[in-house]
Subunit: 279 residues, 2 copies
């Protein structure tokens, strides 16, 4: 990521957080960065793609840190503590932006954003699930959905305080306080309320990619290229052909996809392909 891009992400996320996405003009962003408006469009395709980049940048960082916990050598309790601390740190750091834009559909949310959001939620869920099981044992399995909802809620409650009071809380103390409350809750558990399906469908944001959709996308890009000798065109063509085969060979597709690495035009379709193959 170039310095310029980083600068824009930095300033823009501040402005978005302060005034909202719609209320912040590209001009304001470029003014804050001390660059021209035209220059902005050398770094980002559009205002919306900037939003995506910001979200990608922040959520990648959070996902990485959450992932690290799982491989950390420490007691279950310490890892659980770290889980909270990291969330408080990262969310507090970018809270305004993340809270504002990710929670609700206040900003243009497209498929890609949703994909990333789902990934983030999924990772957080997965991490919390693992940590709870490590710490309290398999017997709480059935209570996981409720516990996760409650703990996320509690985190959210304190994050609001952190956001408004700016750093007035010690994250480690807070993490331990919450863990102690979790101990109490788990001690008193009887019957669960939520079933796993209810939690997972939360957000109703499952965007499965259909084959038809992919093939259509590929055709559209091919039409834009026109040149049948073009490397990208040929690669897309091969992928399209292969996908139509009920038992398509993944290696063929991945191979061809490597030819699309540098094609801006195919960026979107490549991302969709990756998600499709992982489904």
């Amino acid at each position: 990521m170039s310095d310029k891009k980083m600068l824009i992400i930095e300033k823009a996320s501040e402005l978005f957080a302060k005034n909202g996405f719609g209320a912040t003009s590209v001009q304001e962003i470029t003014d804050a960065c001390g660059i021209s408006k035209g220059s902005f469009y050398l770094s980002f395709k559009s205002k919306e793609s900037l939003l995506f980049s910001i979200f990608e940048y922040f959520s990648t960082k959070l996902i990485d840190r959450l992932g690290d916990i799982l491989h950390m050598e420490a007691t279950a309790r310490n890892r659980f503590e770290q889980f909270f601390v990291i969330q408080f740190e990262e969310i507090a750091r970018h809270s305004d932006f993340i809270l504002m834009h990710m929670r609700e559909q206040a900003s243009p949310i497209n498929e890609e954003m949703l994909g990333l959001l789902n990934k983030l939620r999924g990772k957080a869920y997965e991490a919390m699930e693992n940590l709870l099981l490590d710490l309290y044992g398999e017997s709480i399995q059935i209570h996981l959905p409720d516990l996760i909802v409650m703990l996320n809620g509690i985190i959210h409650g304190y994050v609001e305080i952190i956001v408004f009071n700016k750093k007035m809380l010690n994250y480690t103390d807070l993490a331990n306080y919450i863990i102690e409350r979790t101990d109490s809750i788990i001690n008193g558990l009887t019957e669960p309320l939520l079933k796993k399906e209810q939690l997972l469908s939360t957000g109703g944001i499952t965007f499965s990619i259909t084959l038809e959709e992919l093939v259509k996308d590929i055709e559209m890009i091919k039409q834009q290229i026109q040149d049948t000798e073009d490397e990208v065109f040929i690669s897309l063509d091969v992928i399209g052909q292969e996908l139509l085969n009920p038992n398509f060979r993944k290696p063929v597709i991945s191979g061809m996809m490597s030819n699309l690495k540098n094609s801006e035009l195919s960026e979107g379709v490549v991302r969709k392909l990756v998600r499709f193959l992982n489904q």
Copy 2:
């Protein structure tokens, strides 16, 4: 409130919730209502004032219902249960709208909106405080800020599920589930984490009790008693009279308050009095 205004509020809040405030044009709203754009401006001064009206409408309704709980004749536990149920009902009903505008300041928030928001938060805080004290006793006083933050968080967590899964949860069951968890948490409490000031400064909200509010509350209880010979009635009457005196004599009030110790009806007002005198 005229039918026209109501119609606009109805349709607009749907549209705002679906697409956001900025992304919804007045034209879209008037189209949805089947009226002309000019007609819109007969009912509302501006798009922003519509937003305020919507918010006022919903929050007034919620505040009224929360206020009703405090004067409800039922066990502390049942009133606490109702507190949750009402929040789930009202917030779920207007969740999209409320969530959108509370969480992110994506829309123009002016002083009036903030005032209303503070009033809403204050009422919810006050109600929760009263209900918690009624149910668990004065000993939890010191834990109130933490409890309120956690409970609000937990409510928030389940509201998200309700919003996305649309009515898939039984609110009474859910309320009782949360109360049971609260029991557990309270059982295990040791040292509090938050101090009252930290919570109160959240969002710059101050919950000062006004004299007018107190006098109104006292009048309401007097009306419920009716019997002008009743000890509680007389005590409240004296307190009310004393409060109207700019240099009211605290000893008179405290003395009269001791007569209210055993009056369940006056519990709330006594607590408010204590807080008022300590201000």
